[in-house]
């Protein structure tokens, strides 16, 4: 039996019959319209062989439609998809040789686990003897050995998803698509499976294209993330890139938490820019497309803010400093979350990491805030 709440050490398994190379996937100016609704709007994306890429976005952002077009279940309105340079938009799904895992598992309820996993092999006329061997092998990989004779309804959600995963990789696809595969599972199990999927990706070496609306999941698992919004790719980059250097207010808002400050740039260019926010002047990382006098929006993550008196040594980089008064303090587990207000009425959220001996501030306490200029990003500029 597999205890799903424990990530078990990986037993090395025979994976020689698995493809160790992923395919590149290139989306070129993909459009998908449903009647008058534009679901996917001019999406171009070059996915490297063996990469783990996540399409992240809220519902209706076009991420699932994009995935469905790669799988072949939706026909694009315009554009082309290449796998290893070969155009495939006119190839029917059953000849694309792409693995796919669905949110609701989509196991065949009338077949046993073994029959489910054997299904793609049977379609490819793999000899019977070899089928049994490969089914057993792939069940080992998903840590469910000996489950051949069970029916899907006899398995828990997490087990069903592992079987769906086994079925999607048993025929050596070079690309694996996953559509919110962990969406229906509870938090603890989801976290374990995230690590397992990540491990599987390293083991198989094939290209994973993962769709989720859960930013945490995307940050944990991906090599790169494409944040989608209203059918377009809003920003593409590594998890750290997106978190620390969001290009737009949408990305800063969707990934993690941010304080947003409306202000006016007092200088332009890609060096440090002073920005007037209300009556304060805050220094921010500049952008080439910013000119003096422009209306801009600044973003600062709550955990990048800190109380000046807690800093043990001299800062390594330039800081922004503001005097403020604590308005609320809430314990949220690993952090304490404060709402503070500056002398000129600017409200900011701050997260204080909790260590032994740390000081808890109470509403009404006068504090000095500081944060690195480097952590102050201009995420939005007036476009007119």
């Amino acid at each position: 039996m597999v205890n799903e709440n424990v990530t078990e050490p990986v037993v090395p398994v025979e994976t020689d019959h698995f493809n160790r190379s992923g395919a590149s996937v290139t989306l070129e100016k993909l459009d998908k319209h449903f009647n008058t609704v534009v679901a996917v709007d001019d999406v171009s994306l070059a996915i490297e062989p063996g990469e783990f890429i996540t399409l992240l976005g809220p519902s209706g952002s076009g991420k699932t439609t994009t995935l469905m077009m790669i799988a072949g279940f939706e026909i694009p309105t315009a554009g082309e998809i290449y796998i290893d340079g070969t155009p495939i938009v006119t190839t029917p799904p059953h000849r694309r040789n792409i693995g796919m895992v669905f949110q609701n598992y989509a196991l065949f309820p009338h077949m046993t686990v073994a029959e489910n996993i054997a299904f793609p092999l049977k379609q490819r006329k793999v000899p019977k003897a070899s089928i049994a061997q490969r089914v057993a092998g792939v069940l080992d990989i998903v840590s469910l050995p000996g489950y051949e004779g069970r029916y899907p309804r006899q398995l828990s959600g997490g087990q069903q998803q592992r079987i769906a995963l086994a079925r999607a990789i048993v025929f050596n696809p070079r690309v694996l698509l996953m559509d919110e595969p962990l969406g229906a599972l509870d938090k603890k199990l989801r976290e374990n499976l995230q690590l397992e999927i990540r491990r599987l990706h390293e083991e198989l070496g094939i290209t994973f294209i993962y769709v989720t609306h859960d930013q945490e999941e995307a940050l944990v698992m991906s090599d790169r993330i494409a944040v989608m919004n209203q059918g377009r790719i809003e920003q593409l980059g590594s998890p750290i890139d997106l978190y620390d250097r969001p290009n737009s207010r949408f990305v800063a808002e969707f990934i993690g938490e941010s304080n947003f400050l409306d202000g006016t740039a007092l200088d332009g260019g890609d060096h440090v820019n002073p920005v007037r926010v209300g009556d304060e002047v805050i220094s921010a990382v500049g952008r080439e497309d910013v000119t003096s006098g422009m209306a801009v929006v600044l973003a600062v993550r709550p955990e990048k803010l800190s109380f000046a008196e807690e800093r043990p040594e001299e800062p390594l980089a330039p800081l922004n400093r503001l005097g403020a008064t604590v308005r609320e303090g809430t314990f949220i587990g690993e952090m304490r979350r404060y709402v503070v207000e500056t002398e000129r009425g600017l409200r900011l959220t701050l997260k204080q990491p909790l260590r032994y001996g740390i000081r808890y501030y109470e509403p009404g306490d006068r504090v000095e805030l500081e944060w690195h200029v480097e952590d102050t990003r201009i995420v939005s500029i007036a476009t007119d």
Partner: protein, 305 residues
């Protein structure tokens, strides 16, 4: 709260819990009785107007003219009657197969489209279903008659010189019965297909199954309970069909219900009862067999995949 219970002696608490248990049990029984009470009118109705006549009929088939099985042996020894039973079964089989072939794609279509469209299509299936069988049978007589619309159309187009004999043929029986019974096939098929997760079909396709394999290995097995329910319903209804074969069939298309009516007209009540008993037992037998093989009863209840 915690203090007050702690001050009461333990034995008193136990005693109170015991009394409480008895009160709750009485309450549960009352609730159960209420459910039974509301179905009593229907049970009485069925006993008087259904169970009693059926039993009286079965009784008559063995008690008249004398206590014996003469009526049954007469039935089985007379070739004409055995032949009528065979015709009945054969027509029912053909009608069932035709409704399945015609109804399956329709049910699939209705279960695949959006709710707005499927509601409209369901209404289209149900409208003829709500029209009287007699009216629909007459409609077929108008269409298929010697001077009927079909013959006149074919003649005016110059395809035929003489009107075809369409009415009072086996063909007319098939056409009219299939038309009338189609909803009984489509509705159970639709109810099962609606419960089939579409992503399972997509998954099959994505895993490399050609369209034919998706159908034979996934869609068909998953819709089998609906196929069984629809076939059972149509087959049993066909066995007892009366008006349609009587009006559009020829003399060679005598079905068992028509025969029963003829015998009643001749005041052969006992023999008619024996025929009806055979029909009843036959229908029950088929239901039991279907149920054994496919577990049909669960279709009329909840469908789970």
């Amino acid at each position: 709260m915690a203090e007050s219970t702690a001050s009461v002696p333990v034995t008193d608490q136990l005693e109170r819990a015991g009394r409480n248990r008895a009160t709750l049990a009485r309450l549960r029984r009352q609730v159960q009785l209420r459910y039974i009470a509301v179905v009593i009118p229907l049970v009485l109705y069925l006993l008087f107007f259904y169970a009693y006549p059926v039993i009286a009929m079965l009784f008559r088939s063995v008690s008249e003219p004398t206590w014996s099985l003469t009526n049954y042996s007469h039935l089985l020894r007379t070739n004409v009657y055995v032949h009528v039973m065979w015709i009945t079964v054969w027509i029912s089989i053909v009608v069932t197969v035709c409704t399945l072939i015609l109804g399956y794609p329709v049910a699939y279509l209705i279960s695949s489209v959006t709710t707005t469209k499927s509601n409209l299509l369901i209404v289209l299936v149900l409208v003829p279903f709500w029209t009287s069988i007699l009216v629909r049978t007459y409609a077929w007589m108008v269409l298929l008659g010697r001077q009927g619309i079909i013959n006149e159309l074919l003649q005016s187009m110059g395809i035929i010189d003489q009107p075809l004999r369409l009415l009072n043929t086996r063909f007319a029986v098939y056409v009219a019965m299939v038309h009338i019974l189609l909803p009984f096939m489509i509705l159970p098929l639709y109810s099962v297909m609606r419960g089939i997760d579409r992503s399972v079909l997509l998954a099959a396709e994505g895993l490399g199954a050609r369209p034919r394999a998706v159908f034979t290995q996934v869609m068909l097995p998953l819709s089998l309970p609906g196929v069984a329910a629809g076939c059972l319903l149509v087959f049993i209804l066909s066995l007892g069909f009366y008006i349609t074969p009587a009006l559009v069939g020829g003399p060679k298309d005598l079905m068992i219900s028509v025969l029963i009516a003829q015998q009643v007209d001749l005041f052969n009540w006992a023999f008619a009862s024996a025929l009806a008993a055979v029909l009843l037992v036959g229908a029950l037998l088929i239901f039991v067999i279907f149920n054994r093989i496919l577990g049909v009863e669960k279709i009329f209840g909840e469908v789970r995949s």
